[in-house]
């Protein structure tokens, strides 16, 4: 551990993905300035290439021994590397879908891709953050890029409103988080996660110290719940999802969720794992409320983006249930769930973007009417995605719910499991609404798909994976468990 306090350039090796991505951002940003209109696509390709290399660098670091560098504020472990690979991978898929959306709606600008890379950088810092300060910095890099991304459609009133709402509520959440962090810092005397952990688990805590730790803990939990979008801190989710351009919603609903879960793990599991008894009760309430509200309110939505927003809230509830269990396998189940959720969410929003045309947003459930006739293949892909989200086997969404339920029941919360499955059945109703639109109803107008081939191909692979990983989930379950 002697490398904690001395700066050694060889340790930079552990941060290569971040360092590379940061340099790439600067280069692409400058380059973008000099590109003429006809070469704007170059930015897109450079972004994809940068992300790919960053992902490859992160992949390269998998199975490296755990290293803590930069004065204890940055950690490289398997969880960080695997999460980075998944984040970069899903960001790349999201960019493929995004390009179609941006071209159709005349939003194609170089800054968009720069901001996306910047937010990925923020998330990378978050998953590797090992001090409260690094985590917070990562979070702010992420959030500020996201606020701007939403507002990039500046002539749309809805988008500006969503950006403002997200900004205000996000700032409150950041403030709460920071307040909690300062309390923890104040009582434990350190920003480093491992020092906080050893403080929180020391046997001779005065009751005053426990009290302040708890006080800080509550603020941290609220801040994290805000970022995850758990009830009752979910108010921003539906409005932002609906108001933001669909390509941003796609990005927003997928990649940052991994980062939020990583932050949760770093702070609550690694740092305050000793206080599990305190925060698991809070999580239980948040989880059950999220599952319930997410499932019920989504029933009434006609806008598919808003519906998926509520569906996200209910998925977040399931993820939080995994953390309630307080055992490593429960955390593994939650991580498995988040990876599965991202796969499904990419496909769902990808399908919406697929149907986009100039002046046509395809964000109403009724816009899917008759899709099975005009494009049987993509209707099938959407069917797979929706049933997977509803938790119907043999699709992957079933196994993620199964894993969580198994852990919840094994922790002794059978009633909670029953409540969760009942709401899962209720939520099946709104997923069926989309299947109903696609298969059981006829459309009065022709649906034509104008998306480029690369998007169609990636989207198909994305949706087919939902089935294939569902048939062979073993590897992913083991991978998720191995991260703890």
């Amino acid at each position: 551990m002697n490398n904690i306090n001395t700066f050694d350039t060889t340790t930079l090796w552990s941060a290569t993905p971040e360092i590379f991505l940061l340099s790439a951002i600067v280069v692409v940003l400058l380059l973008d300035l000099f590109l003429t209109k006809s070469f704007k696509q170059t930015t897109y390709y450079l972004t994809q290439a940068s992300l790919f290399i960053a992902g490859a660098l992160a992949f390269n670091l998998i199975n490296e021994p755990q290293t803590i560098i930069f004065g204890g504020s940055f950690i490289l472990d398997n969880m960080a590397s695997v999460f980075k690979v998944f984040m970069v991978g899903s960001a790349m898929v999201a960019m493929v879908y995004t390009r179609h959306y941006l071209t159709q709606h005349a939003l194609f600008r170089g800054e968009y891709f720069i901001l996306v890379m910047l937010s990925v950088l923020g998330m990378m810092v978050m998953v590797s953050g090992y001090s409260l300060l690094t985590l917070y910095l990562g979070l702010e890099i992420l959030s500020l890029s996201l606020y701007t991304l939403i507002a990039i459609a500046r002539e749309r009133a809805g988008a500006v409103e969503a950006a403002l709402k997200y900004f205000v509520l996000g700032a409150i959440a950041s403030g709460l988080l920071l307040y909690g962090m300062s309390m923890i810092y104040g009582i434990s005397g350190s920003l480093n996660i491992n020092e906080i952990a050893s403080f929180a688990s020391s046997a001779n805590l005065a009751s005053r110290e426990t009290l302040i730790l708890n006080f800080g803990l509550v603020f941290l939990v609220i801040g994290i719940a805000f970022k995850l979008g758990a009830v009752p801190f979910h108010m921003w989710v539906p409005d932002v999802y609906q108001g933001a351009p669909t390509s941003v919603t796609l990005f927003l609903s997928t990649v940052p969720k991994i980062a939020a879960v990583a932050m949760l793990v770093r702070i609550l599991v690694d740092g305050l794992g000793a206080m599990h008894a305190y925060w698991s009760d809070l999580f239980m309430i948040l989880a059950v409320l999220s599952i319930a509200l997410g499932s019920v309110v989504a029933l009434m939505q006609t806008n598919i983006k808003r519906m998926l927003a509520y569906s996200t809230i209910s998925h977040v509830g399931f993820i939080m249930l995994g953390f309630v269990t307080g055992v490593v396998s429960g955390y593994g189940a939650a991580v498995f769930y988040i990876l599965v959720y991202i796969l499904m969410s990419l496909a769902a929003f990808g399908m919406i973007i697929l149907l986009n045309k100039k002046g046509f947003e395809a964000d109403q459930i009724s816009d899917f009417r008759g899709l099975s006739k005009h494009s049987p293949w993509f209707a099938l892909m959407m069917l797979v995605t929706m049933l997977s989200m509803a938790g119907v086997p043999p699709f992957i969404g079933f196994y993620s719910k199964f894993f969580i339920l198994q852990q919840v029941i094994s922790a002794g919360f059978v009633t909670v499991a029953v409540v969760a499955v009942v709401f899962a059945v209720i939520s099946a109703y709104y997923y069926l609404q989309i299947i109903k639109s696609m298969y059981f109803e006829e459309s009065d107008q022709e649906i034509s798909i104008v998306a480029p081939m690369d998007m169609q191909l990636i989207l198909s692979i994305n949706a087919v994976l939902i089935l294939v990983v569902g048939l062979f989930p073993d590897f992913w379950m083991k991978l998720s468990l191995s991260l703890f």
């Binding site: 339920l405 198994q406 029941i409 059945v425 109903k436 059981f440």
Partner: protein, 501 residues
């Protein structure tokens, strides 16, 4: 030990279905031929389950076991005993009929229609042969998907409501089963169904697990009072959908009682058997009367299905009262009767729905009042229809009689009044079936359209003739079916009567 026959039976139709989807609706005729060829091939393959079956043992046969999800010790474990094997053959048999019946009738997206039935066939065979609880659950739920689409895409005017109601009802029932399966895994450390049979459970645990299973299986059977999805689904489903629904999907519920409820929760089954028996009797008697007043032929047959499936649950749960130490015959008769009733109902309900389908294809009406005097224009068809109606009413010599008679014999051992109530269905059943026959087929022609009806063509004749042979053969000589299941049923009876406490 490792026999891939069952895997072949499961995956051949599923991949065949995928192939048919790939062929597309433009090449409808190729799609039809390919589908029917695959279904016939699967049927022939499934016959070797029967010919190579060892009926002297209750152990699982044709077993195949491979690691699937090692994280939870979930295995891809297949195998059949005398209870599952006949149901698999029933499935492969009915699928051929359904595909042939949909040959000309289905003109919208014919390839997808055929593919949906093929895939469903594979999934249902999976349900009957899975020996791992999660594998079972996966097949069980997955089989809802093709049915949802069949009802929703090719159904009647109110198909959307019926399809979603069908899906949600059965989905809600089965999630509780999932919770109890996980509970037992956490307790016993295994998802193997046969290990669960030996898992010791306390009275309270058994009670909860019993009701969780009951939710899943009672909805599927369906039992009173959770039967309301069935008439809607049947009425709206296309003929083929109704046939598979009645002939096979309902049997999944009955099979669940055999495979899960009795062996896993014997004490709870004993404790709550009277409640189930009473619900079964309500289904048999009350739903019989409900059938009497129906104006829609499909609805009438749907209600008659519920009433007949009441015999299955009655036969299963009457065993606890019918069993007297040293004289197991009554209990055994009830259980075997339940099995025979399931198979026989598979034939008869399929035949009845096909009969209605033949009429519907011609006049596009299911209303009884549309018809009258059909015999005048369709004599051959009426011959079949009357035969199936008689079988539905339980006429001796048809398969409908055998199962009901055995269950009633079992019920007599349990309580004479149960038997009396159950036997009353022979009167009510005859009443609603024959009254329908009278109004639809006999008498003078009341509607000019009926006059111009063309009699059955060769294809329809073939389907109905095959079913007629099956119904009569099973009615006259049910021994081959009873023989294969006998040892398995005896073993099940032992399991059900051995307390786990």
């Amino acid at each position: 030990m490792d026999n891939s026959l069952l895997s072949l039976l499961i995956w051949l139709p599923i991949f065949g279905g995928a192939l048919v989807i790939f062929l597309g609706n433009q090449r409808a005729n190729t799609a039809r031929w390919v589908s029917v060829t695959i279904s016939i091939l699967v049927f022939i393959l499934s016959l070797s389950l029967y010919t190579e079956f060892d009926s002297t043992t209750h152990l699982m046969q044709f077993e195949q076991r491979a690691s699937w999800i090692s994280q939870f010790d979930i295995y891809y474990h297949l195998g059949v005993d005398g209870i599952a094997m006949p149901l698999i053959i029933l499935t492969t048999f009915s699928t051929i009929l359904v595909l042939v019946a949909g040959w000309e009738v289905i003109q919208t997206r014919p390839a997808h229609y055929m593919a949906a039935f093929l895939m469903m066939e594979g999934l249902i065979i999976g349900v009957f042969s899975a020996l791992d609880a999660i594998l079972f659950y996966a097949f069980w739920e997955a089989s809802l998907i093709p049915m949802l689409l069949i009802i929703g895409v090719w159904g009647g005017d109110n198909r959307v409501y019926a399809a979603i109601k069908f899906f949600l009802y059965t989905f809600l029932g089965s999630v509780f089963m999932l919770v109890s399966l996980i509970y037992m895994y956490n307790k016993g450390g295994s998802f193997a169904i046969l290990d669960m049979h030996n898992l010791s459970l306390t009275t309270t645990e058994q009670a909860w697990i019993f009701w969780a299973f009951f939710m899943a299986f009672a909805v599927k059977v369906p039992m009173f009072p959770v039967h309301t999805w069935l008439p809607d689904a049947h009425v709206q489903a296309p003929t083929g959908g109704s046939v598979i629904l009645a002939a096979i999907m309902l049997k999944m519920g009955g099979y669940g009682f055999f495979r899960f409820s009795l062996p896993i929760t014997p004490d709870a089954s004993l404790e709550f058997s009277e409640i189930v028996i009473i619900l079964s009797l309500i289904a048999i008697v009350y739903i019989g009367f409900v059938a009497l007043v129906q104006r829609d032929m499909k609805k009438l047959i749907a209600y008659s299905s519920i009433s007949h499936m009441g015999f299955v649950t009655l036969g299963v749960f009457a065993l606890f009262l019918a069993y007297k130490p040293g004289a197991a015959e009554g209990a055994l008769l009830g259980l075997e009767g339940a099995m025979v009733q399931m198979i026989s109902h598979g034939f008869i309900s399929a035949a009845m729905f096909l009969v209605v389908g033949v009429l519907y294809d011609r006049l596009h009406s299911r209303e009884i009042s549309t018809y009258g005097g059909v015999i005048n224009s369709m004599p051959k068809f009426t011959g079949f229809a009357v035969l199936f109606a008689m079988a539905n009413a339980g006429l001796p010599g048809t398969s409908g009689f055998v199962g009901e008679f055995m269950v009633i014999l079992g019920a007599v051992q349990a309580n004479i009044w149960y038997a009396v109530l159950a036997a009353s269905t022979l009167i009510v059943g005859a009443a609603y079936t024959l009254w329908m026959v009278k109004r639809v087929f006999w008498g003078a022609i009341t509607n000019p359209d009926v006059e111009s009806l063309a009699d059955v063509n060769a294809r329809e004749f073939g389907i109905l003739a095959v079913l007629a042979v099956a119904v009569i053969a099973m009615g006259l000589y049910p021994q081959p079916i009873i023989e294969v299941m006998h040892v398995s049923i005896e073993h099940l009876l032992n399991q059900a009567l051995t307390s786990k406490l």
